[in-house]
Structure formats: C-alpha cells, structure tokens
Symmetry: C2
Subunit: 113 residues, 2 copies
Amino acid sequence: MAEPSEDQADAFFHALADRTRRDIMRRVLAGQHSVSALAAKYDMSFAAVQKHVAVLEKAGLLTKLRSGREQLVSGDVAAVRSVASMLAELEQVWRGRIARIDELIASDTGQED
Amino acid sequence: MAEPSEDQADAFFHALADRTRRDIMRRVLAGQHSVSALAAKYDMSFAAVQKHVAVLEKAGLLTKLRSGREQLVSGDVAAVRSVASMLAELEQVWRGRIARIDELIASDTGQED
DNA sequence: ACAACGTACAACCGATTGGTTGTATATTCG
DNA sequence: CGAATATACAACCAATCGGTTGTACGTTGT
C-alpha cells in the first residue's frame, strides 16, 4: 500500500499546521537534536515543545532515539515526501479536469469521427 | 516574493488537515461545483459544508464565482503547488544535512587539503 | 549517595474547531 | 406578486488545541 490512509493525512497536515512544529521539522531534518536542545530554541516551556515533538512523532514525521538520558530527534524525510505525494495526487485530479476539457473541445471542433 | 508567509502556511496546512475539506478540494479541482451541489455529497448540514468551503477559500485553495443565485467553486491548483513547494523546501533542508555529512566524511578520509 | 539534568505525563485553562439550528438576503420560477 | 432555491452568517455546544505548572522517574557527574 503506497498511499497512506485518510487518518495519516489528517495527522500529517495537522502536525504541519503549526509554525513551531514546522520549524522543529526544519531543525531535525537538518540534523539530530535532543528535545531539550530544541526546547532551548523557543520562547515557551519545555513541556510545550515536548508536546509538539510528540505530535510530530505520532504523525510519523520524526523519530526519537534514546541516547543515555537524552532523546535524539531526527526528521523523517520519507514522511515529508509522502505528504508531498498526496498533494501531487490532488494535482493529478486537476490534470484530469484539463484532459476532460480538452476532450470536450476536441469533440466540439472536430465534431464527427 | 515567491514563497508564502508562515501565516499562509498555517492556513494551507490547517485547511488540508480535514478529510472533508480534502475531499472538497478533489471535487473542485476536478471541476466546478455549486456550494449546494457539494453539500449534497456529505452527511452533514449545508452550513457545515459552507463553512468548510469558507475555510478553503480564506486559505486561498479555492475561489468562488457567482453565477445567478449559485456560487460556483473551483480549486486553485497553483495554491496546491505552493503547498507542495513548501514541502520541497523542507526536503531541501534535509539534503543540506546529507551534503554536510558528505563533507565531514570527505574531510575525514581525505584528511589534508 | 545525591544533586543536577533530560524526559514524560497529568491536570488545568482559554481559544479554536467542527458541528448544529435558526434567521436573513438575493435570485429564480410560476 | 409569492414560493422555492442558494447562500451567508450568527449563536450555541462539545471536543480539541496550544499553552501552562507541577510531579515523577531514569541517567549522569561529583
């Protein structure tokens, strides 16, 4: 099954619909960071950042790897790509419309045959 | 300015983080539909669907064109593409990480010069 | 051993979400 | 004109969201 479920899509888009979480994604796609290293970057409590990370993790956009007392966070580029592929599917629907319009024009100008 | 603001990104992802709204996008990318034609497709009140359409419109993902007493709704494929481009930017951040790792390896094996 | 650190999670709070019903306003049809 | 249709929007409601503080627990360093 190459295409993710609607539940997955809900989780993906919801997770990305927050600028702090998008910023976290940028950082953890660029390289590993511990949760507290991430928390230090934002003007909010550690718990708030930890919850953002949890939302992204549940959506499958990042993974955590325990290293001693730290939890090293990495972005999952494959998940990002699968979100992009959902949008590509949407675009395909639109291309279908264009194809249908072309057919219509063709059957209008070149009436017969 | 080719890249949209963070506010735009919030609106885009939030708008797409609902399966009914994604389904509406599929329909209106495939072709024009009146708001009530859309509403007829879902097991919820007209007002609920109208609010979903309004959310998508505010995000800039679709446009409405008044035709008599109907409001014809069309999906904006350019907006869909600009969401996709935001994800492409995220992916670029990740490519940057890989490039940096490669540099590290290069400077490690080929130590001098 | 124990203090400091890194993380997780519960409880709480105001704001927002996704739904409802009801009302108002144009527009079309007979 | 009056009735039916298509839309918009306000008011309301339960659930979720994004933030807070406080507590608990394993790990590290002295």
